[in-house]
């Protein structure tokens, strides 16, 4: 074999060896640019006086001070708190209940599961549109109750600034509770039958078996469904837009709609960036400890 051919072969070997890295690197670079680079840009802008156009002169914490002094932001945070709490609590309660009920050797379980889970396939915009109609103050549930003989029934949550945020909870729970059911059902299926038998032999009734034996085993499922629901809640945007449009006024604004409105409707880039950074910080506070424990567990 000639020297040149040998060198050619070596070069090809080297190329083959580096190929995986060559394939991964543009994707990794894209992620560095579009995720980390963009986050850095947003964080930077949040420390400037940017208005309609981005300005690159640093201005300390002025945007954050403005943000926290904005009543609309405070409403958005209050709504996020109400929504998060109720959304997570109700989805978990319904999800756990349905998973336990479905775990009782039901013959048509597959069909029922399909029904419980289908809202997850819908866009939040579709869900919002449907519930906007169902909760319609004139023609919706109110009319239905009137026709059933409850003449004094009033249901105006959708247009009532004090109650409108709860309509978002109603629609959100309808859409996402089936997901929690699916997570818990999968978890219940992986519980060792021996443990349940042992509990039965010890004389524990079904209720007690679930409450003090099975559910404690499901702690990881509780944790991951909590993370998922919190993540969904913090990011919720579409549902609010479709259901209430953030209204009446800005009574149902959430951080995500606040950010969108300041960025694209009012063109106050600095404040919008500051609110986006606050959202990121909230999500990181929930997710980083979780990811850390997950990855550490996986590496063991």
């Amino acid at each position: 074999m000639s020297q040149a051919a040998k060198r050619g072969l070596a070069a090809r070997r080297l190329f083959e060896r580096l190929l995986p890295r060559i394939v991964v690197s543009p994707l990794f670079a894209a992620s560095l640019f579009f995720v980390y680079g963009f986050i850095a840009w947003t964080v930077y802008i949040s420390f400037t006086r940017s208005g309609v156009l981005p300005s690159y002169t640093l201005d300390g914490l002025s945007q954050y001070i403005r943000l926290w002094a904005t009543p609309r932001w405070q409403v958005a945070l209050g709504n996020l708190f109400i929504f998060c709490t109720l959304f997570i609590a109700l989805c978990t309660a319904i999800g756990v209940l349905l998973a336990i009920l479905l775990d009782q050797r039901i013959r048509i379980e597959g069909a029922i599961r399909t029904v419980y889970l289908y809202p997850m396939a819908l866009s939040f915009i579709v869900t919002g549109t449907a519930w906007k109609w169902i909760l319609n103050p004139g023609l919706g549930i109110e009319r239905l109750m009137h026709s059933m003989g409850f003449a004094g029934f009033r249901f105006d949550w959708l247009v009532n600034p004090k109650m409108a945020i709860y309509t978002v909870v109603i629609a959100g729970v309808w859409q996402s509770s089936g997901y929690v059911m699916a997570l818990f059902l999968a978890g219940l299926r992986s519980v060792d039958d021996e443990i349940i038998k042992a509990a039965a032999i010890d004389g524990a009734g079904p209720l007690r078996t679930y409450a003090s034996v099975v559910l404690p085993i499901m702690r990881p499922v509780f944790l991951s469904s909590f993370i998922i629901l919190a993540h969904l809640a913090i990011k919720s945007f579409d549902l609010v837009v479709a259901l209430t449009g953030g209204g009446p006024g800005y009574a149902t604004d959430m951080p995500a709609t606040f950010m969108y409105s300041f960025a694209f409707q009012r063109s106050e880039l600095g404040t919008a960036a500051a609110s986006a950074v606050m959202m990121l910080a909230t999500i990181l506070a929930v997710i980083v400890p979780y990811l850390y424990s997950e990855l550490r567990g996986a590496n063991k």
């Binding site: 994707l27 990794f28 319904i94 029922i112 396939a121 915009i125 699916a182 993540h231 995500a256 959202m279």
Partner: protein, 297 residues
Amino acid sequence: MTQTAPAGIVRRKGLRHRLMRILLFAVLGVFCLYYLLPLFIMMATSLKSLDEIRTGTLVSLPRQITFDAWLKAWGSACVGVRCDGLKPYIWNSVLMVVPAVAISTALGAVNGYALTKWRFPGANTIFALMLFGAFIPFQVVLLPMARTLGVLGLAGSVSGLILVHTVYGLAFTTLFFRNFFMGVSDGIVQAAKIDGAGFFGIFSQIVLPMALPAIVVTVIWQFTQIWNDFLFGVAFTVGDSNPVTVALNNVVNTSTGVKEYNVDMAAAIITALPTLLVYVLAGKYFVRGLAAGAVKG
């Protein structure tokens, strides 16, 4: 009370058991209604005339079924100033979703394969760093993305949306394929390497055929996510290039003229139909995607 004790206990137990079963099915049934009722109401409303909507109630069946609302939602409802119905926007969504799903799935497959079967120093760190993209609230990238699309000349276009969905879908598709390939034994790949097969040879001949379930799960997940997306659509497109979710929201929230609830409902069902169809046909894979995407939510 003359019955003998053992038989009584058994009887009572049987009765109690039966009562519990009835209660169980009653509760399950009530929840079935809870989940199905909105769909039923949407369906019923979309088949009624406006007069009937005003005189009837939410759950009353249409006395006279009419498809006018469906025809209008599809072909002539007004979205902003344009009155061509949802049809052009459905087309936008299709044009967006097909390339975005194909590209992000293909890249995720190669990436997941390279990161698991050709481990090189730093592969795990790269994966962890890329995975982070799956958790961020997208609000934090909206502003720079809008500017970047402007610089690239893709602002307000379907191509711009394809790029956005591909870039931010990559974290999920990589995650799905990486998890799948982690469960595939290295032995086959090692043997093929010894036989002299290269990176792409092993990928296309051995790994890809094996990865069919992962491909199905990923495609379904990406399709559902991208079709249902609203945030990117509303932030990065205008008017004619809106995806269907944005158009639906515009139809429903136009404040001019008479509120046509039947058209709204028909439009909502039309928008939901593709993902619902995928769910009904491939529910198993959809659920698997949900479980795999559980880290994300």
